[in-house]
């Protein structure tokens, strides 16, 4: 795998799953779980 491909894979997975984790952490912080 080339370096650019590895970087783009990390960026893609990082942004999407990072975004999901950020939402999850924000939800916990705001303690809005029902």
């Amino acid at each position: 795998m080339s370096i650019e491909a590895i970087i783009m894979m990390i960026v893609g997975l990082g942004l999407t799953w990072g975004g999901a984790c950020w939402c999850f952490v924000t939800a916990i912080r705001n303690n809005r779980h029902k």
Binding site: M1, S2, E4, A5, I6, I7, M8, M9, V11, G12, L13, L15, T16, W17, G19, A20, C23, F24, T26, A27, R29, N30, R32, H33, K34
Partner: protein
């Protein structure tokens, strides 16, 4: 009419929304679209589309669904009785999709059992189109019912019936709490196995190697917005129906963003899975990845079985792969049916059990057409025209009415008052301009393509009958449903007393 049902928990709602968004397209469409539109560079327009169209549209649908606590027809009727037909048009789109989507789920269920002994042998293509589908030579040459497909479709409709008839909390939420974690677990298990195969990294290199010249191509941007739009279940009444069961004080913005991020993250994981397998297959067969890469039915039922043949423990990997497809499909199908059922219940005040049974029986009767030897042809035409015309038409009217005619500021105030984080004016601009422009472009471009080139080489008569007629017929039925007498509470007061 009893009090409107509610989700049992926030996690239950998010899992159901994710289950609806994640479907067959995430697994068999996204990887190829990404590969075909610049590989890693495609992620730039894709993430941009996610932020400027996916999340804003999802927030809008969650917001209006939760605020008005109504299915799509009732939502539009409450905004203005003249607009009720827009909701019914979206429900018609959902109903049509429900009838053929289940056929593909039926195929995957068949393939779960075929995987146990690799029934497709050395010729997966001949097996799929010949022995399994018994494909005829044209869409109107039915060739009789294929009984294994008939039975698996009946079983799949039965699963949906069971989930929907049991209600929101005890049926749909419970089903998704099993299906979605199991789906993620299986996909992760498969990824761990296939990325270590010879050639897998070459496959991933093809998928993620960026071709930055494509970023300047407007068609790549259109593909990115199209992929985001089609994979999120927005614009055809599903997310409105699901969010109408949210408690009145539940978060909107964060739930919407989480749903979109998880859906898109899953698409990328699917890309890793599919291209690892394709990379291995290319190495084993000496072919180029360009030759083996594909999308849709051909990828799932021809290329992947062929690739599975050369994998270690092919029976196990094959079974798990088709189980993943089936679970992704079933969780989406449940949401499609629920969108239709909730609309009928809202309008006519029928009991859930009767409504679900009526819809599933009627739906299955139509699905029988897709179990015949001409099923794939008919499915191909109906799927193309529903997605490229009727769905987009219903969605753009929704977005125009909600963002241009309705006061979007009211919705923004509502969702911000409940949510973990707030959206600013940029959210309104994304909806009013970006989403409308992208949908408008897609409709015109699809219309032009279909008018000039036809579709799939099918005869014009067949396209007229099975494709072009869908939007006008759906509109007629939508207006007819709008004019039917409704329950007193349909327009006056939201169910549940909100």
């Amino acid at each position: 009419m009893s009090k409107r049902e509610q989700w049992g928990s926030r996690a239950g709602f998010i899992l159901a929304a994710v289950g609806s968004a994640i479907g067959l397209g995430n697994i068999w469409r996204f990887p190829y679209v990404a590969y075909d539109n610049g590989g890693g560079a495609f992620l730039i327009p894709y993430i941009f589309a996610l932020l400027t169209a996916g999340i804003p549209f999802m927030i809008l649908e969650f917001g209006v669904g939760q605020k008005y606590r109504s299915s799509a027809p009732r939502l539009f009727a409450r905004l203005n009785p003249k607009w009720e037909w827009v909701g019914w048009l979206q429900v018609m789109v959902a109903a049509i999709i429900a009838t053929y989507y289940i056929a593909v789920i039926g195929w995957t269920l068949n393939y779960v059992t075929f995987s146990l002994d690799l029934s497709w042998g050395d010729d997966p293509k001949g097996f799929f189109f010949g022995e399994f589908l018994g494909l005829t030579s044209s869409p109107l040459e039915f060739g009789g019912i294929r009984w294994p497909i008939f039975v698996s479709c009946l079983a799949a409709w039965g699963i949906t019936w069971l989930a929907c008839v049991s209600g929101i909390k005890k049926g749909i939420e419970r089903a998704n709490k099993v299906l979605i974690p199991a789906l993620f677990l299986l996909v992760l298990l498969l990824i761990v196995r296939v990325v270590t195969l010879d050639g897998a990294l070459d496959g991933l290199n093809y998928l993620f190697k960026p071709d930055f010249s494509k970023v300047l191509d407007y068609k790549v941007w259109a593909a990115a917005y199209g992929q985001i739009f089609y994979s999120l279940s927005v614009g055809f009444s599903i997310m409105v129906a699901y969010s109408s069961y949210l408690p009145p004080d539940e978060d909107v913005n964060n739930n919407a963003a989480m749903t979109v991020f998880i859906n898109c993250g899953f698409s990328l994981l699917s890309g890793v899975l599919i291209f690892s397998v394709l990379g291995n297959m290319a190495l084993e067969t000496g072919a180029s990845i360009k030759d083996v890469a594909g999308a849709g039915v051909g990828l799932a039922f021809v290329t992947i079985p062929k690739a599975i043949n050369s994998l270690p423990a092919p029976e196990l990997i094959g079974t798990l792969f088709f189980l993943c497809l089936a679970m992704a499909g079933v969780s989406s199908h449940i949401s499609i049916v629920e969108a239709c059922v909730s609309s009928l219940i809202d309008k006519f005040g029928w009991r859930r059990r009767d409504t679900v049974s009526f819809f599933c029986l009627g739906g299955f009767a139509v699905t029988v057409v897709f179990t015949t030897g001409a099923g794939l042809f008919i499915l191909d035409i109906v799927d193309h025209f529903v997605n490229s015309q009727a769905l987009l038409f219903g969605a753009i009217i929704e977005i125009i009415l909600l963002s241009w005619v309705l006061n979007l500021e009211d919705i923004r105030t509502h969702v911000n008052s409940l949510s973990d984080f707030s959206v600013n004016n940029l959210w309104k601009k994304c909806l009013k301009y970006v989403t409308v422009a992208v949908l408008g472009y897609s409709i015109l471009s699809n219309l032009h393509g279909d008018l000039v080139n036809g579709y799939g080489g099918y005869p014009v008569r067949d396209l007229m009958l099975l494709g072009w007629s869908l939007l006008p017929v759906s509109l007629v039925i939508a207006f007819w449903l709008k004019n039917q007498p409704a329950t007193e509470r349909f327009i006056n007061k939201p169910a549940g007393g909100n």
